[in-house]
């Protein structure tokens, strides 16, 4: 069909197109979380497969996802993972692999670290905050030293498939209108002040949500003199969402758990 061919566009054209497009909204959280076989979700580590002798997986991985503690134990830091195939390949014995599990947001930074890759999934807010936010949460996005990957997925949360607004969650234009801020990026030196001002401009009680490996620990830019390694310690974080970038359902799962609308092992 040629565009701009000049014949009049009728009302029926609109109706026909609307019917052809159909309804595409995901049934999530009641199903809809299906991923292709190659999807790299939460990384896991099988201690039984770890040869136990080498301990150089941490040095071999291109991200800080594997850590060898003072106790000699290898731990998986899901928050530091960049979800690259090379991180799984860092263990020659195949003890590390990516699952297709999209759920990995936690309310505690330590909740993302474990020997097996188990994540202490986000807990619901305490009762007062929950009453305030559970049915209506307004968020302000602050992009600070990112690559625009996480922002693209936050934008995708507003499309008809994920349609975050059906849960009463929306991004708003001003921190003054917001209940919290969503921080993406490793926090560049040039965004430090703007981030702090935006956070202070958000009325209390306010939530802070760190989205993506960069906001959690600097991501691929970790160690560069031009970035902090994620959200600075003076800004307390209420929800950590790993990913590079996180799948929109990973973010949505984290938000709904925080609001007490998904619980336990539910998918």
């Amino acid at each position: 069909m040629s565009v701009l061919r000049g014949d009049a566009l009728g009302f029926l054209d609109f109706v026909r197109t609307r019917l052809q497009q159909g309804t595409r909204t995901s049934p999530f959280p009641h199903g809809g979380a299906e991923f292709p076989a190659r999807f790299r979700g939460r990384p896991v580590r099988d201690d039984a497969k770890c040869p136990g002798s080498c301990r150089d997986c941490a040095a071999r991985a291109p991200a800080a996802v594997l850590q060898v503690g003072a106790d000699g134990m290898v731990r998986v830091d899901v928050g530091a993972s960049l979800f690259s195939p090379e991180e799984a390949a860092a263990c020659p014995a195949g003890a590390v692999m990516f699952t297709t599990d999209h759920r990995m947001a936690s309310t505690k930074r330590e909740g993302l670290v474990s020997p097996t890759g188990e994540v202490d999934l986000a807990r619901a807010l305490e009762r007062t905050s929950r009453r305030l936010f559970a049915r209506s949460l307004r968020l302000r996005s602050v992009s600070a030293g990112s690559c625009n990957g996480c922002e693209s997925e936050l934008v995708a949360l507003g499309n008809v498939v994920f349609d975050m607004a059906r849960f009463g969650i929306q991004f708003v234009a001003s921190p003054r209108h917001a209940d919290g801020i969503v921080i993406t990026g490793a926090v560049s030196a040039n965004m430090c002040l703007a981030l702090e001002k935006t956070w202070r401009a958000t009325p209390e009680p306010r939530l802070v949500i760190a989205v993506g490996a960069c906001a959690i620990n600097g991501g691929p830019f970790r160690g560069s003199p031009e970035v902090g390694n994620g959200v600075p310690p003076n800004i307390p974080v209420d929800l950590w969402v790993p990913g590079c970038p996180p799948h929109p359902l990973t973010v949505l799962d984290g938000l709904l758990r925080l609001l007490g609308r998904i619980e336990g092992g539910e998918r």
Partner: protein, 502 residues
């Protein structure tokens, strides 16, 4: 004397750094200025420390002949700027001043580009003090003139940048764009990190152009290692690049529709953008194609089942897209909002060295896939899509034409994918060489220039995202338009802050 244009330099072919002419600075200026006045254009212009001085390297392209050339000069703390005679050098020279601490004397607007301390200074030279929060803004004085400042934190979910308008009522007199908020020190990371980590940094130059930047990065590394990919790997990279173009172009049409409040097209295109990302996820395990493109080929093969799925889903998508494009482009209310807004003239395009759909929308047919073909594009040709008006409508139309051609290309490729290994081993990099890898990303020409040191390590890695050239076009397109049309104009360019800021 060696001529700059007979070095045998081509897209993705390494040459000895010693073969690049080293000219006295006045000769260097004449070479570049005369070449640009003829048929050449600046692809990259950057500095790298050399002993206690700085070597400036210019990479030039003659698109119609598919040629690349290079020349260089060694300068101290100051040299006479090229910009007055060669405007397309303007931002490169500002960048050199900031990165290398070399002053291009006589530059008409020597302001910071990203506001960071010099990170490519000759050894022993201290960086001048920098002011991260202050900026010497251009200002128009007058009783009826007012100023509007926007950013770095914007109203939507957008990357940070600052826009300063000088306006008379609703009419924009001047727009100044200040960037650098996303500066993460990408080039230094690419030069210093180990190769596995550098690959992930390359994928994160611009998170919506993962395939484009990863392919350019690998193209340069492979050229320096004299590694040859299999035809199969080239085909899979080509398929992924066009899927990335599809996702972004479709998303952009939706965003443009959204900005003129035409909700049906915004919703439909928004959903179909996601379908393309999901196809990339089936192939690579990530919606943006992370993990796929690796030195020597691709990390994931395309299985026959995936090929069939790609073909079927893109065939469906083709049928779903066309009626929505018709709704959008043939609605009088949409046309009225897109036509004649944010116009860029072909002369501005040539003066500023613009690239990608922005250039093609004002009838300047620049396309790396066509002009400097590489990989699969040497065998399978995608016609260059152009429009002539240079306005928002023209930029949207170019995207729609490219969407149709990319779908046809991918369907053709998946039905005849060559046999072979998806990935081959890549050896050590040749010492003392320079390689230029150009890639036609969805925003336009991506350039990675990599120079190796005497031990085969990375001495300099220069990245140029298409946004680096094209942000100037947005500033040039706004005067005379209404402030309220800025979001629409901005969306029609949809430039990368991260890609510019590095």
């Amino acid at each position: 004397m060696i001529a700059f244009d007979t070095l045998g330099l081509k897209n993705r072919r390494g040459i000895a750094l010693a073969a690049v002419p080293e000219e006295p600075v006045e000769r260097f200026r004449t070479t570049v200025i005369e070449a640009v006045a003829a048929e050449w254009r600046i692809v990259s212009l950057f500095g790298m420390p050399e002993r206690s001085e700085t070597r400036l390297v210019a990479v030039l392209a003659a698109d119609r002949r598919g040629l690349l050339g290079a020349t260089s000069t060694v300068v101290g703390e100051r040299y006479p700027a090229l910009t007055m005679e060669c405007p397309e050098a303007h931002l490169f020279e500002r960048e050199i001043a900031e990165q290398c601490g070399v002053t291009p004397g006589g530059h008409p607007s020597l302001k910071p580009v990203r506001r960071h301390p010099g990170d490519h200074l000759p050894p022993g030279r201290a960086s001048p003090a920098i002011e991260r929060e202050a900026y010497p803004f251009f200002r128009i004085e007058g009783e009826d003139v007012h100023e509007v400042a926007v950013g770095p934190v914007h109203a939507g979910i957008i990357e940070p940048g600052h826009f300063r308008f000088q306006a008379h009522g609703e009419r924009v007199l001047q727009l100044e764009i200040v960037l650098g908020y996303q500066h993460r020190g990408v080039e230094r990371l690419l030069e210093t990190a180990d190769p596995a980590r550098a690959m992930l940094v390359a994928e994160s130059v611009a998170g919506d152009t993962v395939i484009g930047h990863a392919s350019a990065y690998c193209g340069a590394i492979e050229a320096l290692a004299r590694s040859r990919k299999t035809p199969r790997a080239q085909a899979i990279r080509g398929i992924a690049l066009e899927l990335e173009r599809l996702a972004n172009h479709i998303g952009d049409l939706g965003a443009i529709a959204g900005d003129v409040a035409y909700q049906p097209a915004a919703a439909f295109f928004g959903r179909m953008r996601g379908e393309c990302l999901n196809l990339l996820m089936t192939l690579s395990g990530n919606r943006y194609g992370r993990g796929l493109v690796r030195p020597g080929g691709v990390a994931f093969d395309l299985t026959p089942e995936m090929a069939a799925e790609l073909r079927d889903r893109l065939t469906d998508l083709e049928h779903e897209l066309a009626p929505v494009a018709r709704l959008m482009f043939e609605s009088a209310s949409v046309q009225a909002r897109l036509e004649g807004v944010g116009t860029v003239s072909p002369d501005t395009c040539r003066d500023l060295g613009l690239v990608g759909p922005v250039a093609r929308a004002c009838e300047v047919p620049r396309d790396v896939r066509h002009d400097h073909p590489y990989g699969i594009f040497r065998f399978a040709h995608i016609p260059v899509a152009t429009a002539w008006a240079g306005d928002v409508l023209a930029r949207a139309l170019v995207r729609w034409l490219e969407i149709q051609r990319s779908i046809a290309f991918v369907i053709e490729q998946v039905t005849a994918i060559p046999k072979g290994e998806p990935r081959v081993a890549v050896g050590a990099l040749r010492p003392g060489e320079l390689a230029v890898a150009m890639e036609e990303g969805w925003r336009g020409e991506i350039v990675h220039v990599v120079v190796t040191d005497d031990a085969g390590g990375i001495r300099r890695h220069k990245v140029t995202d298409p946004s680096f050239h094209n942000w100037s076009a947005l500033a040039a397109a706004m005067p005379g338009n209404q402030i309220s049309d800025f979001p629409l104009c901005n969306k029609s360019f949809n430039l990368s802050y991260a890609g510019h800021d590095l």
